[in-house]
Amino acid sequence: MRRRSFLTRTGAGLAGLTALSGCTGDGGDGTESASTESATDTESVTDEGTTTGTVEELSGTLSVATYSSFVGEDTAGNWLKSEFESEHPDVTVEFETPENGLNRYIQRKSEGAPIDADLFVGLNTGELVRADEQLDETLFATASDRIEGADTVKPELQFDPDGRVVPYDTGYISLVYDEGEVDAPGTFDALLEPAYEDALIAQNAQQSDPGRAFLLWTIYNKDPDGYLDYWEGLVDNGVTILSDWEPAYNAYSDEEAPMVVSYSTDQVFYHGEGVDMSRHQIGFLNDQGYANPEGMAQFADSDDAELARAFASFALTAPAQREIATRNVQFPAVEGVDPGGDFGEYALEPPEPVTFTYDELSDNVSGWIDEWARQIASN
């Protein structure tokens, strides 16, 4: 049974809330352009209508599996939880944040252990490929056609051909550099030049999301036949490959090198008085940025699938999209949503977003990463 459209995109109240935390502070709704603070909403998808309250009552406990920095004080996760709960008073949202993320559920499924979570929030293309390669049965249900709003997601971000995963935000991998030390390299080939000797810190593609995205970006440009030679050149030119984004960015902050692989939303974190913006320049290579969309999917074994889909739909509403963008510092996935505020001002989008599709990664991605890692570790 399917209860319909409880989510006639709730309310004016919500919209007001969003605007406040979106830092415009005028009580109006966020609109296409962040600078004009119009009180009327002009878009079709961001439908802060006048309907308030719930159309149908949902109840029960929803268990959402996600990564740990998605939850906690002031995070997108906690905002979603409290707003969703206040909209549905009989619903409780709980978070599970296992240390090894999606792997936990892949392993549970393959060992025949029960999965008590209903929804996974925060998986990307590579992880979905891994889940499908590991498991005979599908971990996630094909539910996107039953998730209200899923059709409003930008088509270029859709990464699951089977319609299980619905993207809710995306980041673009780029370089962050110190313009006092180096010029923007501009191209991948430039990174091999002496001007950029010992200048770049990247991350290990075996265990880091941005690291993997950067590696895939080089494969995108240098082809599966040529990327290892390109990386040979990078290594010869002194690239440092650290375990994850955090240590890499810290090393950059400590001036160990003038460039680091990071996200194009870097300046959203670093702006304002006393911040030296010259150390937070965004460098796109070949005018591209590698898109790394994050999606959510309902577990096939969920015993409250309806609630899971309702929550997913809620995350795609315009107010929720703006909150996720600002609090998670990633771009919204839904067409036509503008987070406004600092995000609108400081988050940069690449001229040409690129990414590999599910089918291109399938059967290839682990081999690409493995050969790359062996080559680096053999040095």
Binding site: R130, Q207, E246, E256, F269
Partner: protein, 565 residues
């Protein structure tokens, strides 16, 4: 004591120890390692052949052993003078210094990495110091050198602690006898003292080699991918769910480690020592007037003090400084305010600092209560010279020989996911499981410190007690335990330190945030972006961890010390 109780006490102790080991160690580990000899549901050598025949892996094992060897040499070089200083000289603060040598052991590697990068980084304190004397700068970050230094930071104190304890138990009368018989101080040292230090030194060196051979977070945090070790690779394979390859790497690693432990145990058992009721060698005052500063030994120790300041105090102090400094270099108390805010927060998923501190201390106390009897039982078994007792001892020391990643994976699959038993799915998680896991990680240290001490006890003392009517248990409690009290206290300190510093299994077995400990809180705060992406909140928690641990160990040593003498 009741004869029946006496007859049963040891077997019951052995069985309880084995049962605990079986549940939280052998079964989980076995469930993973069996993957190394299975393909398509059948016994097979294919996985092993695939790894052993791959030149990449030969290189990987080679490099791993090489960096472990370098690290062991560095740890011994840095640790030995410390033992000399602590065992042979008296100076204000000696006891405190001896207590805090355990600190590196409890520090989560992420904090050590932060401290090391702040100390030895391009813009770090060390380069600032070098600049003052007109040297440098040196580029140490993400090199083999800094990995070896960090390994020495962790393991040199182990060398210092074990050798100090051995030195303090050298019987002064034997040295005096040798001197009366005309031996020079050097000869007396070579013939009397050194043979008694050697086993402790070797224990420390073997443990250091094992730890650094299986080192993972430090290599990951300070090294970069070019310096990948077997364990780093194993971690990557697990992340990629290439579990057969991971199991095979883990099995080879474990076989090598167990082999090393076995050879070492045989050597240790051959060392004959007489002891019991000894009087320690007296300590000289370190400073006796300014003239004593010209003494070459004291000059050398002064230089050593400089090394200690740079290698140990430097990173720790840098960590504390980082906790009150913004990325722009200004003073701030924001990170401590963050801890208070976490404490006050009711938001779901928040790890609060105060419960994390109490959890850490409670788990450590629980682990200690469990690890001490386990360790002693294993020592008693080991000290018996029966056929196969070395093999048994090696197997009972296996927690030192198994990679933390393999253990974690095994625990996940058996204890967290549950095991089907009589149609029910049994899971073993929560505080009790955490305490048991910590005890299993800690008891080998109790065994390693207690076994030599137990062996050194003159059998005639026990025989005399028995012939006077004491039961075996009474003899153990009244005669042997007081004689090995110093070793027990040393083992206890390690068990507590292991528990407080433990992260991997704790985070697996904790059910939600209620069982979070200090290292878990610290890890959670590293991912918290509410103050922007920086490690400030984590360094504040690291400083709290440092303070709580320092106080705990000063207390343990003071209380234990009273009991010791």
């Amino acid at each position: 004591m009741d004869a029946r109780v006496d007859r049963l006490a040891l077997p019951v102790g052995v069985i309880a120890t084995l049962a605990t080991l079986l549940v939280v160690f052998y079964y989980p580990v076995g469930s993973v390692l069996v993957g190394a000899v299975r393909a398509g549901g059948q016994l097979s050598l294919v996985p092993l052949r695939a790894v052993l025949g791959d030149p990449f892996y030969a290189d990987l094992f080679g490099f791993t052993a090489y960096q472990a060897l370098l690290s062991t040499v560095a740890s011994v070089l840095v640790g030995l003078p410390g033992a000399y200083l602590l065992a042979r000289f008296e100076f204000p603060g000696r006891r405190f210094l001896r207590s805090v040598t355990i600190l590196p052991f409890v520090l989560p590697s992420i904090m050590v990495a932060v401290g090391f990068l702040a100390m030895f980084g391009r813009t770090g304190l060390f380069n600032d110091l070098l600049a003052v004397v007109g040297l440098g700068p040196v580029e140490l970050t993400f090199t083999l050198e800094i990995i070896v230094l960090a390994h020495a930071f962790y393991n040199a104190p182990l060398v210092t602690r074990l050798v100090t304890a051995a030195w303090e138990s050298v019987d002064a009368r034997r040295v005096e006898t040798a001197r009366t018989l005309g031996a020079s101080p050097l000869v007396a040292f070579r013939d009397v003292v050194a043979p008694q230090l050697l086993p402790a030194l070797l224990t420390a060196a073997v443990l250091t080699f094992l730890f650094t051979f299986m080192s993972f977070p430090i290599v990951l945090a300070l090294g970069g991918l070019e310096f990948a070790t077997v364990e780093v690779w194993l971690f990557a394979r697990v992340r990629d769910l290439a579990l057969t390859e991971a199991a095979t790497l883990g099995a080879i690693e474990t076989a090598l480690s167990l082999g090393l432990i076995y050879v070492y145990l045989r050597f240790e058992a051959m060392q004959l020592r007489a002891g019991g009721g000894s009087r320690s060698i007296g300590r000289e005052p370190l400073l006796a007037g300014w003239r004593s500063l010209l003494d070459p030994r004291r000059l050398a120790l002064l230089c050593y003090g400089g090394v200690v300041l740079v290698l140990f105090v430097g990173p720790l102090a840098s960590l504390v400084v980082e906790s009150v400094t913004t990325p722009e270099g200004q003073f701030t108390t924001d990170y401590y305010a963050f801890l208070l805010a976490q404490q006050a927060s009711a938001a779901t998923g928040t790890v609060q600092p105060v419960p994390a501190i109490t959890n850490s201390l409670l788990f450590a106390a629980g682990a200690l209560v469990l690890a001490l009897p386990m360790g002693v039982v294993v020592s008693v078994v080991a000290a018996r010279e029966t056929r196969g007792s070395r093999v048994a001892e090696a197997l009972l020391t296996a927690p030192l020989a198994v990679s933390g990643i393999v253990l974690g994976l095994g625990m996940l699959r058996t204890l967290v996911f549950g095991t089907e038993l009589f149609g029910h799915r049994l899971t073993v998680t929560g505080p009790v499981a955490i305490v048991a896991a910590h005890a299993v990680a800690g008891y080998p240290f109790v065994t390693r410190t207690v076994t030599p001490a137990l062996r050194a006890i003159d059998d005639r003392l026990v025989d005399a007690a028995r012939s006077l009517g004491a039961s075996r248990t009474t003899a153990l409690l009244d005669v042997e335990l007081p004689l090995i009290a110093a070793a027990l206290v040393a083992g206890a300190a390690f068990a507590v330190a292991i528990s407080i510093g433990e992260f991997d299994t704790t985070v697996l077995l904790a059910e939600g945030v209620d069982s979070a400990t200090m290292p878990v809180a610290l890890e959670r705060y590293t991912g918290n972006r509410s103050l922007g992406p920086n490690l400030g909140p984590a360094t504040a928690m690291g400083t709290v961890l440092l303070a709580v641990t320092t106080v705990s160990f000063v207390v343990i040593d003071r209380v234990g010390g009273r009991w010791e003498r």
